[in-house]
Amino acid sequence: MNVAAIKELLYKVADDQLVIGHRNSEWTGLGPILEEDIAFSSMAQDKLGHAQGCYQILHDLGEAEPDQIAFSRKANQFHNCHFVELPNGEYDFSLMRHFLFDHADQIRFEMFANSSFEPLAKLAKKVKGEIKYHVFHGNTWINKLSTANEVSHIRMQTALNESWNYALGIFEAGSFETELKNEGIFEGENALQNRWLEVVCPLLEKAGLKVPEQHTWEPVLGGRRGYHLAHLEALVTEMSEVFQIDPTATW
């Protein structure tokens, strides 16, 4: 097993989960309707659980404890894509991000469920059962809001336009794509992106939305290599504020 490749893969996936979970949780108490507060909170809890699961595997591979990894690193040590670190903005953007991200997440964990790396396959079998509901939630709301009235339609189309290149950044290639594929650990970001496009494009079109034209596609890259927007710095500082009062204490 190529441990370095597995670690790189797990770090980026776990960081995505942690950061999107954190963002989802920021809707608590502020959602457009109570039911959506509750839904975003549920998804946030699931995402955090998925992050914890991935960090635990990393710990088993010799990395620090999950709490130390999550709450003690600096922003430039995170490997999440830029898409998840963007602030929540309005509900339209949060919802569109959730829809686009969770479809990628679902396919990714379905691939992981067949991974030759047993701990990841085992985790993925549990996780994909939860993501199914995230996707169901995203599909329902995207469809409803995109087709409800003029205002909601325009909002959702704008959110899609703003999200698209960031969403493509989810699939930024890692340093070990070939190794991961050859060892049967993960089919690779390219395969994942292709399957994602096959799923999300028809759904968006069915909802009456226009996927940006292909010549405008410019994936926002860099997150996987530790380059981030200022938003992540602020998020990480806030997230670790209490933990850092005394990282050796029990909280």
Binding site: L34, Y91, E150, E238, D246, W251
Partner: protein, 331 residues
């Protein structure tokens, strides 16, 4: 949390007869049913005042849940470690769920959720006064989760035995969840109180800040209120504010002392003869000032809620749109 549905001090001394217009025969039957321990259901006959007071109380309880989610919710993004972050998310999510249950219960009495939320954000309806105070540190959020939830459970377990069916059923479910919040809060406070000197200092300071609001929590002494009598007769209110405060002190002061924490009231002690707790009378002028909008966070809490309502309006409008899908015009 959180609903301490105390009588609004602004209403305590209303003396007009609330029953003048009621049919005496129907009223007698209604009161006999309550006396027999029957539940009143939405379609049953009820006095106007009973309906009004229940709406006020359930609505106020619902508002307390969503406003209460704010001071605790701000600590979700800062909770130290996976275990705390996950638990706090789940806790605050429960509170929002309670608001959903309570608004549904109040809707059975004829007031829509939208109308209730409008009354909240325009300042017409009250919510629990404690949430007009800030949660300065992580330890404040822990003290809230333990002691404010503890106070709320005392109130809600009592009210769950009340006369209005939908409210009682909602409270039964709420109390089950609250009991987990109490365990969560207690575990947090124990961790801090038995932790490093910094953590101990943090939790003691939080307790000092929260003690006056906690003593206010059950509301002013209500023995002089005629208002309370009729509400207790109708099993809208099940225990007096003073009784609930005594019960709280009896259950929790020993636990606080066990942790080596100090309660910031030199006069607090249990009278061995009467079995009652003696304490410095809370500052009820402060209570009245805060409930009428003068607390440190009143304006902020309502501004945050109002902002959330305004930002979410387009979503609610979209949900109201009919089944016919919007068709994008060609030109």
């Amino acid at each position: 949390m959180y609903g301490n549905a105390y009588i609004d001090p602004n209403e305590v001394n209303k003396t007009h007869s609330v029953l003048a217009d009621e049919d005496p025969k129907l009223l007698a039957e209604f009161e006999a049913r309550i006396e027999r321990g029957e539940k009143i259901e939405p379609k049953d006959w009820m006095p106007k005042e009973y309906r009004k007071q229940l709406i006020r109380m359930i609505e106020q309880h619902g508002h307390s849940e969503i406003i209460g989610a704010l001071p605790e919710g701000t600590w979700i993004t800062r909770a130290p470690g996976f275990k705390r972050k996950l638990a706090l998310m789940a806790k605050v999510q429960d509170e929002v769920g309670h608001a959903q249950l309570l608004y549904s219960a109040a809707e059975t009495l004829g007031k829509s959720r939208e109308a209730m939320i409008n009354d909240l954000i325009t300042g017409k309806s009250k919510y629990s006064n404690v949430f007009n105070y800030p949660a300065f540190t992580w330890a404040d959020a822990c003290i809230i989760a333990w002691l404010i939830d503890a106070g709320a459970i005392i109130n809600q377990v009592a009210n769950a035995k009340g006369s209005y069916g939908p409210y009682c059923r909602a409270l039964d479910r709420i109390c089950t969840e609250e009991s987990f919040h109490l365990k969560y809060g207690h575990d947090n406070v124990v961790t801090l109180a038995t932790g490093t000197p910094v953590q101990r200092k943090m939790v003691q300071e939080a307790l000092n800040r929260w003690w006056p609001p906690i003593m206010h929590f059950f509301g002013p002494s209500d023995k002089i209120s005629s208002h309370t009598e009729i509400l207790m007769k109708w099993k809208v209110k099940m225990a007096t504010n003073d009784d609930m405060r005594q019960q709280f002190l009896n259950m929790y002061v020993p636990k606080i002392w066990d942790l080596g924490l100090t309660v910031p009231d030199a006069n607090l002690k249990k009278n061995a003869e009467t079995g009652k707790w003696e304490y410095t009378e809370p500052d009820w002028d402060e209570f009245k000032r805060v409930i009428n909008g003068g607390g440190p966070c009143n304006a902020e809490r309502l501004a945050v809620r109002r902002n959330a309502e305004e930002r979410g309006r387009w979503v609610r409008e979209a949900l109201k749109a009919g089944q016919t899908a919007y068709v994008v015009p060609f030109a």
